[in-house]
């Protein structure tokens, strides 16, 4: 989106939260932005990278979040405002750097990190609340409640970061990151040359003055706590903290972030504006204690509404305990009381439910007879499990893996990883994956399994990784495997992009975040250089791939690598590359529901491009979805699916 660098202060545009965050960073005059893609945060860097050249920003997809954080750290140390974005898990990867960076503090220019959490795990396999990390880091944290506020907060976060000399965090959630809404643009920074210089502050006689080297000494830790107190004072005066409602509310809602609008809507919907006040906190760590204490004194009942963990809830209750006996009459509602859950996404309806209970009112969303009818009607609605796309090379890979493992017969299995192929433990991956944890964990866990021979373990182990994940976290695990002679096969699904999160380039693609050409880090050469036995297959050559896999599996011992190389179908579509085939089903030959007891192709292979022609109970090609990859022709035992070369 080119308008992201539009120099029209006051103009209103429709921005996705992630774009607003990017614009905030641009308005703040950052010089460096680094990130690793991960929904729901990926679009932030994509957006910055899109205008990086024009705005004279160095924007990069770093190989992982820790490196991204260090890249930003380096820039800040040399006096350039820097910015980092990641999803919740990324903060864990980067944490090791951060627990030291909090000791050293930032440079003269601030450093801001945007972390987007994923309540409900809509695009993640966990629901971690990253705010806790900022608490144990003793670093300041802000939580925006809208795209507009996200933009303003990012800008302000630089002021905070520079004022207290700490990395400052802004926490988003999926709904903020992915909601598009009206955003009024601010001023772009003046175009003046930024000068980077690393100040030599090393003083061998006075380590206290020596910045940028952390040490185990209390001399570094004590100032950190002083800085945090300073941040608290700044936060007490912040206009990002707001109160709406009566002077002495019957119920005080304390909320933050995306939940703010759920609360205002719920109160509106219940017409409870006279009874309920809402304290919205924009600065959630350190807690602006004086402000909160003041509001606690106006009421007897408090409800906390926030995404995932009871973070604010616990911190406020801790504060209340310290204010005893003044707070002894207070009743607290929230996750602890069971009115809201410490998991899954919050919503206006959930807040309404909590309020109805606490206030003793009633609420009816729609006509009751209609409600009954509607609930009855949707009983016929089938589940729609997620699936790999038509033409997805992973489907072919999993088919080959399944077949090879079954033929081998030693109860081999797949250690899965993070990416589209995470679907491996469900039907689209034919239930092949048996473990799934963090980025790179497939290979890591396989390392462990691959060294259990002396305990009688002879099950073949296949670790799967995507190409992007390979560079992110699998490299060390591969080195470890070769070095410790662990017996497993690493399958690298090289589909030329970080597909799951939106096709960002990675070190293997030869492209930079900005779209400029880059050096290709050749994964095949890397694996070979490490001493692994390497093969490259095209999963759509199903038979050869299966054979290669089987022979690799039988080759027991040592770390073996197979690179499954085929471009992601969605990347093909973006690049207007079409597949070779036009598919059709020979209705005479197709066995339909008597095939493999019942439709091998639609039921088991499950490509969205295949469907059942209900009238004759035979397979058919769904022309709206088939992309002509030809895979189904290879698996049909009756040779009923025909591929014709399309011109």
């Amino acid at each position: 989106m080119a308008s992201i660098a539009m120099n029209k202060p006051g103009a209103t545009v429709l921005l996705m939260g992630n774009e607003a965050v990017a614009r905030g960073a641009i308005e703040a005059g950052i010089g460096v932005a680094a990130a690793y893609p991960g929904s729901p945060s990926s679009e932030v860097l994509t957006t910055i990278a899109g205008v990086a050249k024009q705005m004279k920003i160095h924007a990069e997809w770093s190989v992982n979040e820790k490196v991204a954080m260090e890249v930003a750290g380096g820039a800040s140390f040399a006096g350039i405002r820097s910015f980092c974005a990641m999803k919740q898990n990324g903060a864990n990867v980067a944490a090791d750097f951060l627990v030291n960076a909090n000791m050293t503090g930032v440079g003269d220019a601030g450093m801001v990190v945007f972390i987007s959490d994923d309540p409900g795990g809509m695009t993640s396999n966990n629901e971690e609340d990253s705010r806790t990390i900022t608490k144990w880091l003793d670093n300041p944290l802000l939580e925006p409640s809208s795209a507009q506020e996200a933009k303003e907060m990012i800008k302000w976060a630089y002021e905070v970061s520079e004022a207290v000399n700490l990395v400052t965090f802004v926490r988003g959630v999926t709904r903020i990151s992915y909601t598009k809404s009206n955003v009024m643009l601010g001023e772009l920074p003046e175009k003046k040359e930024k000068k980077a210089f690393f100040p030599d502050l090393w003083d061998m006689y006075n380590p206290k003055k020596s910045k940028f080297t952390s040490g185990p000494f209390p001399i570094f830790h004590k100032p950190l706590h002083e800085k945090l107190e300073k941040a608290r004072e700044i936060f007490e005066r912040s206009t990002f903290n707001q109160y709406m409602g009566p002077e002495h509310p019957e119920l005080l809602i304390i909320t933050c972030g995306a939940c703010t609008s759920y609360c205002t809507e719920a109160v509106d919907e219940l017409k409870a504006g006279e009874r309920v006040g809402i304290l919205k906190l924009g600065t959630t760590w350190p807690l602006p204690e004086k402000l909160v204490a003041k509001h606690l004194s106006t009421t007897k009942t408090v409800l906390f509404v926030e995404e995932i963990d009871p973070f604010v809830e616990r911190n406020v209750m801790e504060l209340a305990a310290s204010l005893l006996p003044a707070t002894c009459d207070l009743t607290f509602y929230g996750k602890r009381s069971g009115h809201l859950a410490p998991y899954n996404e919050q919503s206006t309806n959930l807040v309404i439910d909590a309020l109805v209970d606490i206030l003793g009112t009633t609420y009816q969303a729609r006509d009751l007879t209609y409600d009954e009818e509607a609930k009855k009607a949707i009983q016929i609605v089938p589940d729609r499990p997620i699936n790999m796309c038509a033409g997805c090379p992973h489907r072919a890979t999993f088919w080959a893996v399944k077949k090879a493992l079954q033929l081998d017969g030693r109860k081999g299995f797949v250690c899965g990883d993070i990416g589209c192929y995470a679907m491996g433990f469900t039907a689209p991956g034919f239930f092949q994956s048996r473990t799934m944890h963090a980025m790179g964990s497939g290979a890591g866990v396989a390392n462990g399994l691959g060294n259990l021979r002396q305990f009688g373990f002879d099950q073949p182990v296949i670790a799967m990784t995507g190409d992007s994940t390979f560079y992110h976290a699998v490299l060390p695990a591969l080195v470890n495997g070769v070095y410790n002679n662990s017996s497993f096969i690493l399958l690298i699904l090289d589909n030329s992009a970080t597909a799951m999160t939106g096709f960002q380039p990675h070190p293997g693609t030869g492209l930079l975040a900005t779209g400029d050409p880059a050096k290709v880090v050749d994964m095949e050469a890397v694996c070979r250089a490490m001493g692994a036995d390497v093969r490259v297959c095209d999963p759509f050559d199903l038979e050869d791939t299966t054979k290669a896999l089987l022979s690799m599996i039988k080759k027991d011992g040592g770390t073996r690598v197979i690179i499954m190389r085929h471009m992601c179908q969605l990347v093909k579509a973006r690049r207007k590359i079409t597949n070779k085939y036009r598919m059709h089903v020979d209705k005479e030959r197709c066995l339909g529901d008597t095939c493999g007891c019942d439709n091998l192709c639609t039921r088991i292979l499950g490509c969205p491009g295949l469907m059942v022609d209900r009238e004759i109970s035979k397979a058919a090609i769904d022309e709206a979805l088939c992309v002509g990859c030809g895979l189904c022709a290879d698996i049909c035992p009756s040779s009923a699916i025909i591929r014709e070369e399309a011109i």
């Binding site: 809509m122 009206n182 969303a365 409600d371 997620i386 039907a427 709206a624």
Partner: protein
């Protein structure tokens, strides 16, 4: 602030479909048009894994005075644009009410993995029962006639605008299409859009 009238405050539009049908593009177009008409809008799409063939819903909340949260409250949809029949029914089940207007593309997309798809006529009947203001638009069929199923969503966009339920018009939409589609593509998409308007007028 917009000069156009908004029938309700906030006004809730839902676009429901299946990952891969292009609902994100649709919601972006509608959002942009509403913005240009001076409304406050929040548009929430389903992102991430569910885009891979799962059911996806875009919520668009329109207001003249403030920015609301993006997700529609249970039972509060004003318009549902259904890109796929059972997904339309799913959305109605959650967000429908006696006043909701439904525009639906009756072409099924079958769920993978052998889950049985209910009888299409039964689905259509259930939809019309839950919304007396239901219009069927054979968008996929028309798109295939145009030579590419990809036009389905733009045809539906035409129908949505042509249905006169939102405070946007063809004139608001055109510059947005122009910005998005270069050259030859624009022509085809304008044709698709027109087709959609035509279909809804007849529906």
């Amino acid at each position: 602030m917009s000069r156009r009238r908004l029938r309700k405050e906030p006004f809730n539009l839902i676009i429901s479909g299946v990952g891969g049908q292009g609902n994100v593009l649709l919601s972006a177009f509608v959002g942009a048009a509403l913005l240009n008409e001076g409304f406050m809008v929040s548009v929430a799409d389903t992102f991430g894994v569910s885009q891979r063939g799962g059911s996806v819903t875009s919520h668009i909340k329109i207001s003249k005075k403030t920015l609301y949260s993006s997700v529609t409250l249970d039972g509060k949809a004003d318009v549902i644009l259904g890109m796929e029949p059972v997904e339309t029914l799913r959305a109605l089940g959650e967000f429908g009410n006696p006043h909701v207007v439904v525009i639906v593309n009756p072409r099924p997309i079958y769920p993978s993995g052998g889950a049985t798809y209910p009888d299409l006529d039964k689905v259509k009947r259930a939809i019309t029962k839950l919304s007396s203001k239901t219009k069927f638009v054979n968008a996929t069929e028309e798109a295939l006639k145009m030579g590419n199923p990809i036009y389905t969503n733009i045809i539906l966009l035409g129908s949505l605008v042509g249905a006169n339920v939102l405070p946007i018009t063809k004139e608001t939409m055109m510059p947005i299409l122009k910005e998005r589609f270069p050259g030859k593509l624009l022509e085809e998409n304008i044709k698709a859009f027109g087709k959609g308007m035509e279909l809804i007028a007849k529906a």
